[in-house]
Symmetry: C2
Subunit: 709 residues, 2 copies
């Protein structure tokens, strides 16, 4: 990304002296915002443009050109790119539309572009993007109307967007909110450079403190994961607006930048793991950027609320508690201190009602803020202002700004009034105090700081996985060989490699063999058809439980074989699985699902209707730490069932934790040979008595075309 973001020479194809055209605007904005490097307009029509020599072709430039800016008709792009390659240009940003987003024909031209780039060892951003900015160097490689402003505010917020329009919309909103930006990268169709690469560059840049990103679907999960780790390590929050989760949204995502939209669930789970803050709206992402900008995080969940209206105080308290913040009543001694600087009809409990009167004059309001910020009873402060106009608004703004600058605790302002309070808004904006025009938005923003602080406290780089090379090759070999789902027994053989407690079982080929095994296991036993071609054994009449005598074993053996053949005459039947019958316990479901971009997710939920009907399950990305595994057990809604309810004792959660860790290790070693695993049910017994995997099916990634699931 270096040559994209810090080029010394930039060429503009089709540069025009008509500054209302797209190519004219690109030139205009580079000049207007005083790009530090060389600018080479290319256009055979002109000898020079506004004093700059203009070149008939890229070949006519004698100096080194790092970056070419190309905003011409799609059909002309391949030729121009070849010229660039010939000249030794290292990078190109292609603004033009009409490529993969337009169907098959456009896709072919886009592939050609990638070929040319590879041929000449060039890297390309776009096509169908709105360009890139490196604000402090004046590299304004964009024709967005947002560049019309006289001065672009620079600052430590970086922005990477797969959509050009959304990227520059957010840029504009940031600037309006007084938030300075260092980099903007919009990647459009991502013929070559991906949003992941853009993110890597901005995260690694020492002058980035907060990263915003708009994503439709990632192409390079691996590099994204590494970048997310770097950001977590460096304490640089990434705030993501990820779209494309709805049915029609996914459709639109596919037509728009032709992105591979990963499943919403995998993103959510991955973002949570990496502390990536999820915004739901353009307004949201700007609000969050403002909150993180001062770089102050709370050390706990206790929020102080200062208000001039009791009603707004209640509203703030309601919203705060909903997202896990606490609004503690202040201690008697602190209340006494506060009472001294607020009117007698105010309220010092928290929410602290300073009343409209105390804001207007004197030092009391500022003193009150200082007292609360200095107290060890509070971790952060929300200051809520309602009506205030003109000079009074300005004074209030100054009081708050002064308090905010003098503290390490986060302070945000909720100021719900229109432009009459503008002088106050301006003071806060200038001082970089996060300012929101409604109570709920202020709470949401400061709540995000608290949740990120928690993430940072608990975050550590995942330990390098200990791989058992023999086992790894064993599981990969089995899965590679399998063009379909593995049978229950074959699945369990692999699960056993990872120490998972599968049922004692054996495949009998004859009825007499079956009786022998059952006698050895002890009655009752379970009998199940063993066939890789019959996935839904119960449906096929292939399962019998509570088998308690040799006679029953013999009878069921024939019956199950016959039913299996009737169900699927083509099925290869290996025999009948004779299985110990496990004491009833609490049933859970544990599974794996590989997302092509974000890697494998592990799923845990309660069995029966909980996962299927109530959708009560949790996903986490592999690999799991022991803590992750323990958290999974506690994060489902029905967690109380594992801890014991209604007279039942707790189940063996340690045994479940071990199973989750074993499954995680299996996913790590299977790598991309695995598509999914479903262990349903796993029976967990009371504390100390363990758990058993009763049934399971592994599906290899090669089989995803053939299996019907």
């Amino acid at each position: 990304m270096h040559y994209f973001m810090e080029p010394t020479g930039v060429a503009i194809f089709g540069a025009s002296q008509d500054f209302t055209t797209i190519n004219g605007k690109i030139l205009k904005y580079l000049l207007k915002h005083q790009f530090g490097g060389q600018i080479y307009p290319i256009n055979p029509k002109y000898k020079e443009i506004v004093g700059l020599p203009c070149y008939p072709s890229i070949g006519d430039i004698t100096e080194q050109v790092d970056l070419a800016l190309i905003a011409v008709a799609a059909a002309r792009v391949p030729g121009i790119l070849r010229d660039c390659g010939g000249k030794g240009v290292k990078r190109a940003v292609i603004f033009s539309s009409g490529f993969a987003e337009m169907g098959q024909e456009g896709k072919k031209v886009q592939e050609e572009i990638l070929q040319i780039a590879k041929e000449y060892n060039m890297r390309v951003i776009g096509p169908n993007c709105l360009g890139i900015l490196n604000v402090s160097t004046g590299l304004i490689a964009s024709f967005s109307g947002s560049m019309e402003v006289d001065h672009i505010k620079t600052g430590p917020v970086a922005l990477v967007s797969q959509s050009g329009a959304v990227g520059f919309m957010l840029f504009n909103l940031l600037q309006e909110a007084g938030v300075g930006v260092n980099y903007v990268v919009t990647t459009g169709n991502e013929a070559d450079v991906t949003a992941g690469e853009g993110l890597t560059y901005v995260v690694e840049s020492p002058d980035t403190k907060v990263v915003l990103t708009y994503l439709e679907g990632l192409r390079d999960g691996e590099s994204f994961r590494k970048t997310a780790e770097k950001a977590a390590e460096a304490g640089k929050p990434i705030i993501a607006l990820k779209v494309g989760n709805s049915a029609s949204g996914q459709k639109a995502a596919a037509t728009h930048t032709a992105a591979l939209t990963g499943s919403g669930g995998a993103y959510k789970s991955y973002f949570e793991k990496m502390g990536i803050i999820q915004a739901r709206d353009s307004e949201d992402i700007i609000d969050l950027a403002q909150a993180f900008l001062p770089g102050k995080l709370p050390h706990g969940p206790r929020v102080g609320i200062v208000t001039m209206s009791g009603g707004v105080g209640i509203l703030l308290a309601d919203r705060s508690e909903e997202i896990g913040l606490q609004v503690p009543e202040l201690s008697a001694s602190l209340q006494k201190e506060v009472q001294k600087v607020i009117p007698s009809f105010g309220c010092a409990q928290n929410p602290v009602d300073v009343t409209a009167q105390s804001l207007n004059q004197g030092e009391e309001f500022k003193k009150c803020l200082r007292i609360l910020l200095a107290s060890d009873e509070l971790d952060m402060l929300i200051v809520a202002i309602t009506m205030a106009t003109g000079q009074i608004a300005e004074k209030i703004g100054r009081d708050i700004a002064e308090a905010a600058l003098g503290t390490d605790k986060p302070l945000v302002v909720s100021w719900s009034v229109g432009q009459v309070a503008k002088p106050g808004f301006e003071v806060l904006k200038k001082a970089g105090v996060p300012l929101y025009h409604s109570p709920a938005r202020a709470v949401k923003a400061i709540g995000a700081l608290y949740h990120y602080a928690n993430f940072q406290k608990n975050w550590k780089l995942p330990a390098i996985d200990k791989i058992d090379p023999l086992r790894k090759s064993q599981i990969q070999t089995v899965l590679r060989k399998s063009s379909q789902a593995l049978s229950e027994h074959a699945t369990k053989e692999l699960l056993e490699l990872y120490g998972l407690p599968v049922t004692k079982e054996y495949v009998a080929v004859t009825a007499e063999e079956a009786v022998g095994i059952a006698e050895k296991f002890g009655y009752p036993v379970v009998m199940k058809i063993d066939s890789p071609d019959i996935l839904h054994k119960t449906e096929a009449g292939g399962v019998a439980v509570n088998i308690s005598s040799p006679q029953e074993v013999r009878a069921k053996f024939q019956e199950i074989i016959e039913r299996g053949k009737a169900y699927n005459p083509q099925a290869k039947i290996n025999g009948i699985l004779i299985q110990e019958q496990v004491t009833p316990g609490v049933e859970v479901i544990i599974g794996l699902q590989r997302d092509p971009v974000l890697g494998t997710q592990i799923m845990f939920g309660l069995g029966g209707i909980f996962v299927e009907v109530l959708k009560d399950f949790i996903l986490k990305p592999v690999p799991l730490s022991r803590e992750d595994a323990e958290n999974m057990l506690n994060e489902i809604k029905g967690a109380a069932l594992l801890n014991g309810v209604r007279g039942r004792g707790a189940v063996d959660k340690e045994a479940l934790t071990e199973i989750l860790l074993g499954v995680s290790q299996l996913a790590v070693e299977a790598e991309d040979t695995l598509l999914s695993l479903d262990m349903n049910p796993v029976t967990v017994l009371p504390k100390g008595l363990g758990a058993k995997v009763l049934d399971g099916v592994l599906i290899s990634s090669d089989s995803c075309q053939t299996c019907t699931n």
Copy 2:
């Protein structure tokens, strides 16, 4: 409320010619906004103020005074109020603080105020409020800074707030958003006039179309319910910002306007029943007001999205589907029509991407909007604009406004850009087109229109309950006589009056009697202790099931009596309840809970862990219509369990519906003699086989002090 809102003569106590004081401001704003009636300043210091004769006391005014405005120190208020009474003043607004919100002493003065008002047949708004407005008549009885503007925009939105500061904060935000207001009523401590009365007035006013209200807790449930019914009948949406649901919020509500904050659940259920739209934030309530103002409701859930950025289109689609809207792909013929008026690289599917290009010039954009609005494939339209500045923004605004005015379908605009697009914003504001500065807010607003349209479609005035006078007197007598929870058997006797299918049972006083009953019922039977003093029978060892022989009956009879005595030596034991043992089925819980303000709520949930652990239950206010009862069964998350999952058939939902209706009728006839009812479990059998109430306890309202629950 008439004399408050339409007074002919208004007196201002302590009126001042210093327009920076509170009493000066009240006078200033009445003059500035040209109040149509007479103004009588009262202040012995002046002979006249700005040309108006000033009176030493209220008694010196010879004309009739309808309304007194009182903003003096709390201690002086009772005296002034007496003077007003003596003069025959009909109404007073008391702005002053220092009453019930300040503790016991203030509470006493507030009670005195109410006494004086009653004595003189006066009505009082406040104390501790910020006044009232009737904009079109210039009755600006408030000193809020929001009144400084030169012109207050009048319009069909009315605002009733229990908090003065919040009320005028919302008023200010409405005016900034270009929304005209007719009435504002802030009720403060509600010594006399309540928010409910304010709501009744504004809902009944023919010039109100949309009602906004900020509520901490209602005092007069009955009048609120009647007003909500009137609003539903008239199709006037009420948008409520109800606060005080959090622990600290409730604390703050108690100290703030000393309101009785009802339970959050009862409000939610009641609001849903009455179609009252619930806002979560000040921004929210303004957004919703704008959406409802044009008075257009969608006829279905299908939303069209017009965007100049694919990315914003996806975001809008995501948020739309989350709240139950549909984003249908347009038909081939409609796409063809749309394609004619958008550039070739646009997208006509829906979201329709018209691209930035088509907005800038010509008629295409307007045509596109017209085509979509005219189509019967869409019920409403969201138009999303991103970057657009100056004249182009203005043109876009005009195009959209024209389209919006020419359609009966709701149209809202999401325009996510800063003040560079102000000319466009102004055009939309003037035309009354709902304008939001972020996609999610636009979706939320149009979604509320859809949900309200659904409510309106299904709403009907509840049929007048058929009361059985004999039964009514019977249940009320039993409940009034009971100072504690009724025993299971006594409860079931009352349930039977309402046709509820309780278990066959009989209280035996001796073991032999018990055997006789058991023989008559047929084995197995259930035996339970019958004592009004033992609520938790299982805990007391007072329940035995599966009793299968006379010997067992005799043995258990003694055992249960002894255990009961051991558990509570003081307990009065009526005997042992012999009960038919019901075939196992699906267990559900049905209950009633009376909220002192909002009336009785009926609760339905699945038994076992579903209600207790997963909090999966539903509340609806009594009385239930048959449709309400049927909906309750479908609205729990685990509804699939009633419809049959995993091989089980559906349960007898008709039987459950009848039980819900019977319980509703019981609540209606019991009126306020009932505090709560808990029927847990009710066993429901497969379709056609009915349901049985296995256990139940009724608690009378008199017993709420004595019972331990």
